[in-house]
């Protein structure tokens, strides 16, 4: 399969997913305050799936580490969005804790990839 073919297949898949998120009638399991916030959540979910594609298909180990880092920052955005429609304010506490934990984990992972010991 040549390069142009793969490019068009990826473009069609991403455009179809974005069109589904923007234009589809919302499934009945998402009964939130406004349809705008439900679509916000679905759009973030699409971004997270694109990150997970890179985690699955990264050719080298630092690729996967980069994708994991970005996924950690996206999850903070998930927690911030979940605050609004559910009315539960403790989601932002989960976001702060997740940001701290993700930063420490990524620094340890970078040390490990560099080939050093952890106490250097």
């Amino acid at each position: 399969m040549d390069k142009r073919m793969r490019w068009s297949i990826g473009f069609i898949v991403i455009a179809a997913a974005a069109a589904v998120v923007i234009f589809c009638p919302l499934p009945s399991m998402i009964r939130w305050q406004s349809p705008f916030l439900a679509r916000t959540f679905l759009w973030l979910l699409l971004s997270a799936i694109m990150c997970l594609y890179r985690v699955l298909r990264g050719p080298t180990a630092p690729d996967r580490a980069v994708a994991i880092d970005m996924l950690g920052i996206l999850i903070v955005g998930f927690c911030a969005v979940l605050c609004l429609p559910t009315g539960r304010d403790w989601y932002i506490d989960i976001g702060i804790a997740w940001a701290l934990q993700s930063f420490i984990g990524i620094m340890a992972l970078a040390k490990f990839l560099e080939g050093k010991e952890f106490d250097e």
Binding site: R54, P62, A65, V66, L74, V76, V81, C83, A110
Partner: protein, 111 residues
């Protein structure tokens, strides 16, 4: 009025997040992917948190959102630099269309 500004900021943040993840898929190299994704996703998530602050105002949740935004703006570049350095030191070659590689020259000079 506050809710309109908050919704606009959240939409801008979502657009930045989406294009950052598109760069994470699309670029050919670890370093290109890192510089496309780190900046875009940091700014996008900061936009979402600022929108949450506009929704909630000066309550406990709004101040926590501002705190979280400051924390992400401080830590995301640090982890991105650490990952780039770790990728170079662990032997990942840059893409063959790369024009200049000053970090490699610097390492050569220091030996």
């Amino acid at each position: 009025m506050n809710e309109t500004i908050g919704a606009g900021l959240i939409v801008i943040g979502l657009a930045f997040d989406f294009f950052g993840c598109l760069g994470l898929i699309r670029f050919p190299d670890v370093y290109n992917r890192l510089q496309a994704a780190a900046k875009c996703i940091t700014l996008g998530t900061s936009g979402i948190l600022l929108g949450l602050f506009c929704y909630k105002g000066f309550t406990a949740t709004g101040i926590k959102a501002l705190l979280c935004m400051a924390f992400i703006l401080l830590t995301a570049p640090v982890s991105a630099h650490a990952l780039a350095r770790a990728a170079y030191r662990s032997g990942v070659k840059p893409w063959e269309g790369t024009v200049i590689d000053q970090y490699g020259e610097d390492i050569e000079k220091r030996k």
